[in-house]
């Protein structure tokens, strides 16, 4: 596997083709002049124009973004604390690990129906933004913990000890040494949480209330009636393009800073 890296490289490239095929197709279809997603009949930007006129889509997009942002902030803050809590061995850590890995493995449909029953029958929490937020944090938390924990456990404790030996208070050590070291993982965890919330269909579909339909639920309801609308295709294309652009900017900035610092780029 090492003597012929091109074999491996080809396989890896094919997997990337698999990952990007539907995305590229969406991008092409978003400029299609007809509604069809399978047959390209001409070039047009009408779906983008309709997207920006469609208030229902824009409103649910806004709600979805607010929800994803709030969910990402909460789960990143308390999830990061939890990741630090698991840093050193203590009695009961195994139990905590099991609890924290539960949301990773409980099937979404089970979580969805369980939360529906809980919110409606036991807690009396009305379906809608609040219920969605509670649920989204619950299923995103573990991803934050996993991502941050892997960075925390790989950290060199001696750097913090050195700072403390040099007279820094615990708070200063945390702010100037610990936090910068874990920052990339915290950012990655936050991105994960945001994305999980932003794209969730199954759990959200049980918890949306009147006037608080998230975009994926809206799309699902619409699509199961008459197929996916070309506006959504246009919106998806915009979202991928924006993410790709952010990544490119990140890479450029990182390599520019690395060149200035005279070392190789260290991103995450």
């Amino acid at each position: 596997m090492n003597r012929r890296p091109w074999v491996l490289g080809t396989v890896a490239a094919l997997v990337f083709v698999f990952l990007y095929a539907p995305i590229v197709w969406l991008a092409i279809a978003s400029f299609n002049s007809s509604r069809s997603l399978s047959r390209i009949s001409g070039v047009s930007t009408q779906w983008y124009e309709e997207l920006f006129r469609d208030t229902r889509v824009l409103e649910s997009l806004q709600l979805t973004l607010q929800l994803a942002l709030a969910s990402a902030v909460i789960s990143t803050v308390i999830g990061t604390l939890a990741a630090f809590g698991l840093r050193r061995a203590f009695p009961g850590r195994g139990l905590w690990t099991v609890l924290l890995s539960l949301p990773l493995v409980v099937p979404e449909v089970v979580m969805g129906v369980a939360m529906l029953g809980f919110f409606v029958k036991l807690a009396g929490i009305p379906l809608g933004f609040g219920a969605l937020l509670f649920a989204h944090v619950a299923f995103s938390l573990s991803f934050v913990v996993v991502v941050v924990r892997s960075r925390v456990s790989g950290m060199d404790v001696r750097m913090e000890e050195a700072a403390a030996d040099l007279g820094a208070s615990p708070l200063v050590v945390f702010r100037t040494v610990t936090l910068p070291l874990v920052a990339p993982a915290v950012v990655a965890g936050a991105a994960f949480a945001f994305l999980l919330s932003f794209d969730d269909v199954v759990i959200s579909s049980y918890l949306t209330g009147v006037g608080s339909t998230t975009l994926p639920v809206f799309v699902y309801a619409q699509a199961s009636k008459r197929g996916i609308s070309p506006e959504i295709v246009a919106l998806s294309t915009l979202m991928v393009a924006a993410t790709a652009l952010l990544l490119v900017i990140g890479v450029v900035v990182a390599s520019w800073r690395a060149r200035r610092a005279g070392s190789t780029a260290q991103l995450v």
């Binding site: 990952l19 399978s38 308390i78 493995v105 099937p107 509670f134 197929g227 979202m239």
Partner: protein, 279 residues
């Protein structure tokens, strides 16, 4: 020691409370529902306690659905391993300073709507779609395309869950000491022998963690089978969904959810401690 215990628990408490209230309590409620008697009211499940729902859930009529779900989940896991391993290995071994970028590139497609991607696959796979057209050039096309087949469902599930396989595999590969492979070659082992004796044991935690992260959600998913497989490919997940959304039989849906949970716990127990590092 006590101080350390207190500090750790203080840090873990917010997360513990959140999961306790919004995940564990709901799951406990589902267990209670599963023993309830069905009521004709608006999705109301009331006492007395009965095991009726479990008897219904274990009815042989549901057997084909269980079987189909299991086949989909296992096939998806295997497909994710076959595709994910070379990718994770390549990024860890040959990615160089672009490793993070390549890893991010794995995730970028997932920043678009999941449903839009599934519909893109629908368009690519249908009779007039690109896949069928290209296959037609070499005479491998199929009447009506590849939609509504088991293959389409497994493809959709594999597509959806691949990152959950790639990430833990990548973490395991990154920790793997690649010099061991050289050493194995130098000691006269071939590629196959090196793979099974050196590489696989070395990244086993990643393989186990990734398989778990793919197998369980794939067994519960119902959106992908519904959209790519059609009405005849109902799965365990879609039956549960029907009981809560349409059928109004919460006890039966709950009993099935509990059975799915038991399966998860069994897999977790079987996994033992090996995957713990990564998960």
């Amino acid at each position: 020691m006590l101080r350390r215990w207190l500090k750790a628990n203080a840090l873990l408490t917010p997360t513990g409370l959140w999961l306790g209230i919004f995940l564990i309590a709901p799951l406990a409620l589902v267990v209670q529902f599963s023993f309830a008697t069905r009521d004709t009211g608006v999705a109301r499940a009331v006492l007395p306690w009965t095991t009726q729902a479990y008897l219904t859930a274990l009815d042989p009529a549901f057997l084909p659905i269980f079987g189909r779900t299991l086949v989909y989940a296992v096939a998806t896991t295997v497909a994710c391993l076959v595709l994910g391993f070379p990718l994770a290995w390549f990024i860890a071994r040959h990615g160089g300073r672009y490793r993070t970028v390549l890893l991010a590139a794995v995730l970028i497609p997932f920043w678009s709507s999941y449903l839009a991607r599934i519909y893109a696959w629908k368009a690519l796979l249908d009779g007039e779609g690109l896949v069928n057209t290209v296959l037609g050039w070499v005479g491998l096309d199929r009447d009506g395309g590849f939609l509504l087949t088991h293959g389409a469902v497994v493809l959709g599930l594999t597509y959806g869950f691949l990152p959950f396989m790639v990430l833990p595999l990548y973490v395991a590969c990154e920790r793997f000491d690649f010099r061991l492979v050289e050493a194995s070659y130098d000691l006269g082992h071939g590629r196959v022998s090196t793979f099974f004796r050196i590489v696989l044991p070395g990244v086993l935690t990643g393989v186990l963690a990734g398989s778990l992260l793919v197998l369980v959600p794939a067994a519960g998913d119902f959106v992908t089978p519904k959209l790519l497989g059609g009405v005849d490919q109902s799965t365990f997940g879609s039956v549960i969904d029907d009981q809560f959304r349409g059928g109004n039989n919460w006890p039966l849906g709950s009993a099935m959810a509990v059975l799915l949970l038991v399966l998860v716990v069994l897999v977790l127990v079987l996994r033992g401690k090996r995957g713990e590092d990564v998960l």
